[in-house]
């Protein structure tokens, strides 16, 4: 995509070039027209002068001079000539044409005025010619001047237009850079950009206000999550402590112990649910920092090792295939660990004993991707669609987890601009695809 100022400059130059080109094409035609008109006027002027001379001195004055029936005169450079001769014509001539004349064995194009008139019953033809080369010469001179002027004009105005466009859109570029450097609304530079252009000023102001508003909302959400956290987790904590102490009683019957343990399990589920929802809310309101930098292979290996106990127990073979590594920057390691962990854990859960899981890292379609592929039970389309929703279908197996883990993974992926794609076929397996944006 082109920058605005380049677009402006490009348009300016193009429009000038087109205009100049049109001018260059039209100039010879216009010049010729003007020149012809001018020449013709000159020729007519000269005719009038000669007619005046003939009226004053009589036609014989010219004829005697040459002792002939015709009179001719031209200047040294043969730019102009005048001729007068006796002629017999049925009609009066009065027209201007372009013809060739041979003067001193030289063929020259002339614009010639032919004018016939009667004096004492005799008809004379007056020819006044102007050489076309002299006319063309002046045309060429003018064209050259116009060329030079046009080039200088285009170059100078293009430079000045460009610098003006640059200066004009500078505030806009500053705003763009500011936005680009803003990973979260909290770090947005609130200092005004400063522009004399009303629109940019308004844009900057609106953006700053928007960021302030988002910050306020985040702050509010932060307070809300903090309060919810406190209000919900404290009673759970009280209950848990009471149940644990109950379990410690020496004379507790096995029956009561079992029921107490089951209550603790249920309480744990409640705790996981509350913490999961709080985690999603915290990620979504940007309460986690993205400050870590590490190689993705390290993280993937760590996740794999963490879950190996479970996969080994189910005799599931996890194959790691890293064809290319990637250094992640400005990310949250703990969150990304959780993201991969939940998905791999899910894969192990739904892969039968003796199955296979492949973790592939590398470039696919020019984008860095991490794929977690299992040959487990797979899902139908309906299940795939609801995979990332926070509360899944009712008939899911609660023994296999609260089902919120994948929703957390999705939230974390969104937070890091990672795209998750799922391909699954019932009976064949599931493929999770993490596509990194850059």
């Amino acid at each position: 995509m082109l920058k605005l100022r380049y677009k402006l400059s490009l348009f300016n130059i193009l429009s000038k070039l087109i205009f100049g080109l049109l001018f260059i094409i039209l100039i010879p035609i216009i010049l010729e027209r003007i020149n012809t008109l001018q020449t013709d006027n000159e020729l007519i002027d000269k005719r009038e002068q000669i007619i005046d001379l003939i009226a004053l001195f009589g036609v014989d004055f010219f004829m005697e001079e040459t002792r002939n029936d015709a009179f001719g005169s031209y200047n040294i450079l043969k730019e102009e000539y005048i001729s007068l001769e006796r002629i017999y014509l049925d009609e009066y001539w009065n027209f201007i044409e372009v013809t060739q004349r041979i003067i001193d064995d030289e063929i020259i194009d002339y614009r010639v005025l032919n004018y016939s008139f009667l004096i004492d019953g005799e008809m004379f033809l007056l020819e006044i010619g102007k050489s076309l080369s002299s006319i063309h010469q002046s045309e060429r001179n003018i064209t050259a001047v116009i060329w030079v002027f046009l080039i200088v004009f285009i170059v100078f105005t293009s430079i000045s237009d460009n610098s003006f466009a640059t200066a004009l859109v500078r505030p806009l570029e500053k705003i763009t850079v500011k936005l680009k450097n803003t990973s979260s609304p909290e770090v947005y530079d609130m200092k005004p950009v400063g522009s004399s252009t009303a629109e940019f000023h308004a844009l900057d102001k609106t953006l700053t206000e928007l960021m302030k508003k988002i910050n306020e909302l985040f702050q509010k959400e932060k307070e809300i999550t903090s309060n919810i956290s406190h209000e919900l987790l404290t009673p759970i904590s009280v209950l848990r402590s009471k149940l644990e102490n109950l379990l410690m009683l020496e004379n507790i019957s096995p029956e009561a112990a079992k029921k107490t343990e089951e209550s603790l399990k249920t309480l744990h589920r409640l705790k996981v649910m509350v913490n999961s929802l709080l985690m999603i809310a915290r990620v979504e309101s940007r309460q986690y920092l993205k400050q870590d930098q590490f190689l993705i292979s390290n993280l993937i290996i760590e996740v794999k090792e963490e879950l190996e106990v479970l996969s080994e127990d189910k005799e599931i073979k996890i194959t790691l295939n890293i064809t290319a590594d990637k250094e992640l920057k400005k990310v949250n390691r703990v969150l990304l660990f959780t993201m991969f962990y939940n998905v791999l854990n899910n894969a192990i859960k739904f892969t039968p004993k003796g199955g296979n899981i492949l973790i592939a890292c590398g470039f696919y379609n020019e984008k860095y991707q991490v794929k977690i592929i299992d040959n487990g039970q797979g899902m139908n389309q309906e299940q795939s669609k609801n995979l990332f929703s926070r509360f899944r279908n009712k008939h899911q197996d609660t023994q296999k987890g609260t089902g919120i883990g994948l929703a957390i993974s999705k939230t974390i992926a969104d937070f890091h601009q990672i795209q998750i794609k799922v391909n699954s076929k019932p009976g064949e397996g599931t493929e999770f695809n993490f596509i990194f944006s850059a």
């Binding site: 404290t234 009471k242 309480l267 106990v309 959780t338 919120i404």
Partner: protein, 224 residues
């Protein structure tokens, strides 16, 4: 050892006190920040369990007061706000550890023990279990002076059972101790069963490991 429990939720403070008393601690509770501040200034404590979210007092203020006490208590912060900053700020301000609600009492106990080992150089660095000797400092387990290779998680699990010996620990308690709270989705008691299975297998190669008992329907227990 003397413990001060600063917690505005009376129900929770009582339960913590009951559990720790059973573990032979002398417990006092303070349900307001003001009461806590007075007790910290007047009495001597080995441990202070401090809830940061007190309605009448800034938790960090109280933390500074506790830190300034000459008797140099071990301090564990308790909070339910779950704010990451609280954790960092708390540890920076001089707390020894941090525990998030809802925590397990066994976990709290093991954290206290860990701080005590570090802080007060408690002598019993070696624990006997069956025919094995466990060195807490070097984190190694020996049979007949020969080391038994355990993974980090297996060792943590074993140590946790031993510190809370003769008490049943539920799978959830064990799970949380090893993996913490960060992995929210885990409702897999399976994890612990697999680890215990592996642990027993490694120990049984040398000597009987039946002192790691399964308590049907509840969890596991180290009978020593």
């Amino acid at each position: 050892m003397n413990v001060l429990i600063v917690e505005d939720e009376v129900g929770l403070a009582t339960e913590i006190a009951e559990y720790l008393t059973r573990e032979h601690f002398l417990c006092e509770t303070a349900n307001t920040g003001l009461e806590a501040s007075e007790k910290i200034a007047v009495n001597l404590y080995d441990f202070i369990l401090l809830d940061l979210g007190l309605p009448d007092y800034d938790g960090f203020e109280l933390l500074l007061e506790a830190r300034a006490a000459e008797y140099n208590p071990g301090i564990i912060i308790i909070t339910a706000r779950g704010e990451l900053n609280d954790r960092i700020k708390g540890l920076d301000t001089g707390a020894d550890d941090y525990i998030a609600k809802p925590f397990s009492l066994a976990e709290l106990h093991s954290r206290i023990q860990a701080i005590a080992r570090r802080k007060f150089q408690v002598d019993n660095k070696e624990i006997n279990a069956g025919e094995f000797i466990i060195n807490i400092n070097s984190r190694k387990i020996y049979y007949n002076e020969k080391e038994v290779e355990l993974t980090k998680k297996e060792f943590d699990l074993l140590l946790y059972l031993l510190i809370n010996k003769n008490k049943t620990l539920t799978r959830i308690q064990l799970y949380e101790h090893i993996w913490g709270n960060s992995l929210e989705d885990q409702y897999d008691s399976n994890f612990i069963d697999v680890h215990i299975k592996n642990l027993r297998k490694k120990l049984s190669a040398h000597a009987p490991s039946d002192w790691i008992a399964t308590v049907r329907g509840v969890g596991y227990q180290a009978d020593i």
